[in-house]
Symmetry: C2
Subunit: 261 residues, 2 copies
């Protein structure tokens, strides 16, 4: 892609994973309320994702958008996710259409479907559970943060159907850099390694699609999210699997884990 790629929420955890793997692959425009630390691999634009003018200016002249910005806390209050995640996401989709950008990858979340798992936990986290979500199911958020992410997916569907925008919604699992979380079956079921995360968003930028909902996790034995749509629509080829980590090993670095950014 010759035109710059706009990365909203660039200073967050998912942004870090993407830039870790793809810093040199694209001409980045990095949008966040807080500038990235260190030596950012692209133009930095400081702004709020709910600010129509700031987002409009940031989108101008880009070839695609990866939209990560928003309140990333599963326990966030309604007021915050309603503003930052629901309205912020509408602002980004609207600005993309307005600027003639053809493609938006939207960071949705496992929390959009958290209630399916709650009534099946911990059994669902085991490789023989036989339960699988594939992205065709209706949302069942486990929290208001998840409601906001499901609303973002529906906004994406509208902007695809009505404005012909290519939209992929990535229901991101449990992002952790070097290794899956220990003693946390849920985190092992939905682990997304940094390199698989970067590869997945690379595929979101390079592939051709209309509207897709995919799960963003590594190829974990414990997974209960199907990777089929990500493989088929995006040619996603994950390289990691939480089962390959012995829980007795020490973590390779000091990175903790968190859901999404």
């Amino acid at each position: 892609m010759d035109d710059p790629v706009l990365l909203t929420g660039a200073s967050g955890r998912v942004g870090a994973a993407i830039l870790d793997g793809l810093a040199d692959e694209y001409d980045w425009r990095l949008f966040d309320r807080t500038p990235p630390t260190g030596d950012p691999p692209g133009e930095v634009v400081v702004g709020d994702v709910t600010d129509d003018d700031a987002v409009g200016a940031a989108v101008e002249g880009t070839g695609a958008v990866i939209h990560l910005a928003g309140d990333p806390r599963p326990e966030a209050a309604w007021e915050s996710v309603w503003h930052n995640n629901v309205d912020g996401t509408q602002t980004v989709f609207e600005a993309a259409v307005e600027a003639g950008v053809g493609k938006v990858a939207f960071a949705s979340s496992n929390h959009a479907v958290g209630a399916y798992e709650d009534e099946r936990a911990p059994r669902v986290y085991r490789s023989d559970s036989g339960f699988r979500l594939d992205g065709t199911e209706l949302p069942r958020p486990g929290n208001l943060y998840g409601v906001s992410k499901a609303a973002g997916e529906t906004l994406g569907r509208y902007y695809h159907d009505r404005h012909d925008l290519s939209v992929v919604c990535v229901r991101i699992g449990n992002l952790a850099a070097e290794r899956p979380p220990e003693d946390y079956e849920r985190g092992q079921a939905m682990w997304l390694s940094y390199r698989d995360c970067a590869h997945l968003f690379d595929r979101c930028l390079r592939s051709e699609y209309g509207y897709e909902i995919v799960y963003g996790i590594s190829d974990n034995d414990r997974k209960y999210y199907s990777l089929e749509r990500a493989r088929e629509a995006l040619d996603y080829e994950p390289r990691d699997n939480s089962a390959e980590y012995d829980s007795e090993d020490e973590p390779k670095d000091g990175n903790g884990s968190s859901d999404e950014r």
Copy 2:
């Protein structure tokens, strides 16, 4: 039901249909920004559905809620539906849980799934189209109003899963009092007569359910919405069918038609 029923948006068109048929069946508390005209069949509370305190006070002591309030215009701007429909609906669900009310019937809309029909119109409006939506499909709104209604449905799912609230989302079709719209296949496919509307919301108040999405239309030959869930979950027994009206007849009264209220 002995406790009062809170009807938000009581002064709108759906409210009129409900009160037309059920004025004497319940002890009504009528909530709206604009007081109902004429002689309202219950206590009138003037307030805005996005006002936490006003809604909290209105819900207090009621046995169930029918939530109709919101911007009813399919062409409404994002700012309005984001405030009035998305935030307003969260306010109502939250207040219901807070007050210990067990049941909320939410007026969703055919516009939550409008894009399915757009790519099949006008064929889909004919009785031999063979196409049917049943409420298990993912939302595909045809406008931002529809996005806001789909978000309300997802909020309902959350409040059911997490807070054990009984929630039914009624995707209301084309409400018109005495007869279906003429020369308007779409309106004939999704006609909801006043008496079927009142009967349907009566069933929403009297039935036992967990979480349901149902279509709110009369039993029209032209329908492409399934009535199966409404019949099964709510014992809905519609009496009207737009096919029974000869398009040569004069309308029986001066009522126009509109989508929903």
